[in-house]
């Protein structure tokens, strides 16, 4: 019995959601009075691997191979499964990221394991049951899921658990499992990443604009507000449908679901399908000129007013606040 956590990396750096997964896995290992092992795949340097110790990983398996430089879910699933068997791990934790979603189900099948995708809390283990709460119905509800299999996999939602420091000295062990060529059938040709921006699913703060902004030419103030806050930008569906903003920024039922600490909705009415993707944000601010806009019903703070007057004032206030 032990816990294994997989930490995603991009260009040799672990993601914040990965450190969150380690924090979460450490809390599970402590509750189960068992060991935690972390696994990293790809070319990650020693200093970065040591960082995992900060969140409680005392042992780190380092899989460094040119074949595994870019993410191929089939191969990664085989490697993680082999590591789980070697470490006698019956609980595997990873991030519910875009890549995680392609990875965890394959590991689940290999280990005949029940899988909770999108966990939002630590497991409850009273009465001998293993219960994990997850998002369901596009953020409109939670489903408490019981994992009844011997092996269990939990994919943690980004920003749901946070970072918890638990410093230990991490011992790094190189691990080089055999990789089948059939596991490398999908070939990554190209990765396009907008590196200068905060990535939306991982963002703690998000500034979002809707049709009330009238046109793409008015996004300058949204970008400025976001950059002052260190926030990611998002938008409603009609905005991306009209190509005012890229589809990757579209949040909601048919876009991505996010749960940042702060979501600022500007000129968005708050349709049920939009709320589905953002209602688990910790604090919601709504700026809308219509006092009857449904979004105000789920907001913590609101300003009834014209975005073109309010947003510049916020930008000014933020500049003053930052000194």
């Amino acid at each position: 019995m032990s816990v294994l956590v997989y930490i995603e990396q991009a260009e040799g750096k672990f993601k914040k959601s990965g450190f969150e997964a380690v924090s979460y896995a450490k809390a599970i290992a402590d509750a189960q009075a068992t060991n935690l092992t972390a696994i990293s795949i790809g070319n990650v340097g020693e200093a970065e691997l040591k960082e995992l110790g900060k969140y409680g990983a005392s042992k780190v398996l380092n899989v460094s191979s040119d074949q595994l430089k870019s993410f191929v879910n089939q191969a990664y699933a085989s490697v993680i499964t082999e590591a789980a068997q070697k470490e006698n791990a019956d609980i595997i934790v990873l991030s519910n990221s875009f890549s995680g979603k392609g990875l965890s189900p394959r590991i689940a099948v290999k280990l005949k394991a029940g899988l909770v995708d999108g966990a939002v809390e630590l497991p409850q283990t009273e009465g001998g049951k293993f219960l994990v709460k997850k998002n369901a119905f596009s953020g409109k509800a939670f489903a408490v899921t019981e994992l009844t299999s011997a092996n269990k996999i939990i994919a943690l939602n980004p920003n749901a658990f946070g970072l918890k420091e638990n410093p230990v000295e991490a011992t790094i062990e190189n691990f080089s499992p055999e990789i089948k060529s059939t596991d490398l059938a999908a070939i990554v040709k190209e990765i396009v990443r907008a590196t200068d921006k905060v990535s939306l699913p991982d963002a703690e703060l998000v500034v979002s604009g809707g049709r009330g902004l009238k046109g793409p030419e008015n996004w300058g103030m949204i970008e400025e507000l976001a950059s002052l806050l260190g926030a990611a930008t998002a938008c409603s569906k009609p905005v991306s449908d009209a190509d005012w903003r890229p589809h990757s920024e579209h949040v909601g039922q048919t876009g991505i679901a996010i749960s940042p600490n702060l979501y600022i909705a500007i000129g968005i009415s708050g349709a049920i399908q939009h709320l589905a993707g953002v209602s688990s944000s910790k604090v919601i601010v709504v700026i809308n000129k219509d006092p009857e806009a449904p979004f105000f019903k789920v907001a913590d703070y609101g300003i009834v007013g014209d975005a073109f007057e309010v947003v510049p004032k916020l930008i000014e206030a933020l500049k003053a606040h930052k000194g």
Binding site: K15, F71, A77, F98, S99, K101, G102, S104, P105, R106, V109, K110, A113, L115, D117, G118, K134, A136, F137, S138, G139, K140, A141, V144, T145, E146, T148, S149, T182, A185, A186, V188, K189, I191, R193, V198, P201, L205, L229, H247, Q253, T254, I272, Q273, A276, V283, V285, V286, K297, V298, D300, Y301, G302, I303, D306, V310, K313, A317, A320, H321
Partner: protein, 245 residues
């Protein structure tokens, strides 16, 4: 080419979500069920790829007979035939197993799913089918070009995209961008009634996960309004009271 599209039967996106039986069951009373919106996208792309006699599209659903109207809708959109595995979909593992078992009996070149079902939001089924069949799976694709043998796909990643190429059989789960969802026309609706719908019994396998209880999010307290003229105050509130900036 032969394409299999997996469709799930889900509550309409405007449904108010409530539960019965001590919050253990989703309350289906008065709920309109639809083809999962992402599966419509997958189906629409499959139909485009097969246009002009280049292939056939089969849709598959794991469900009891109450899902037949949803399957007929998929046939009306343009699938050639349908299969229903006669069982309530217990968990993603069970659902994926049934679909994989069926896929082994017929020689599909490509299997498409939606990115996730909008009820349980698992995003699990596609990659599980891939593993059961030991073929590549690509989750959450935004673009799919396929000539019957080689495919180029674009997959969403945090803050960007990845271009993937695959030769041979594979499965992918589709998100927005892959195709515009097609709307059934009158001819489609008429012909859907007579298109073949085969019902197959499910295989029994052990359960690995089950939902024991649903919860609804705690209601938020009333909104605190800041007058528009004093917008600057909002920054102070977010800093000092909410402590998020």
């Amino acid at each position: 080419m032969k394409i299999l599209v997996c469709i799930s039967n889900v509550p309409d996106t405007t449904t108010k979500i409530t539960f019965t039986n001590d919050n253990t069951q989703f309350n289906t009373s008065g709920v309109q069920f639809i083809v999962n919106p992402y599966d419509e996208i997958a189906l629409s792309r499959a139909i485009e790829l097969c246009e002009g006699g280049k292939g056939t599209v089969t849709v598959i659903n794991v469900g009891d007979s109450s899902t037949d109207p949803t399957i007929r809708k998929a046939l009306a959109i343009g699938a050639d035939d349908a299969v229903r595995i006669n069982a309530l979909p217990r968990d993603a593992y069970f659902t994926a197993y049934q679909i994989a078992e069926y896929a082994k009996t017929a020689d599909f070149d490509l299997i498409l799913c939606g990115r996730e079902s909008i009820d349980y939001n698992g995003a699990q089924v596609a990659a599980m089918i891939g593993e059961f069949l030991d073929i590549p799976s690509v989750s959450i694709i935004k673009k799919l070009d396929y000539d019957g043998a080689t495919a180029t796909l674009e997959r969403e990643i945090e803050g960007g995209k990845e271009v993937v190429s695959i030769h041979g059989k594979f499965i992918a789960s589709c998100a927005e961008g892959v195709a515009e969802a097609k709307i059934p026309n009158m001819r489609g609706i008429m012909s859907a009634r007579t298109k073949p719908l085969q019902v197959v019994e499910a295989a029994d396998i052990p359960e690995v996960a089950k939902v024991v209880k649903f919860e609804t999010p705690a209601p938020r307290s009333a909104v605190k309004l800041v007058p528009a003229e004093e917008a600057a105050k909002l920054i102070d509130l977010l800093h000092q009271e909410a402590k998020v900036i």
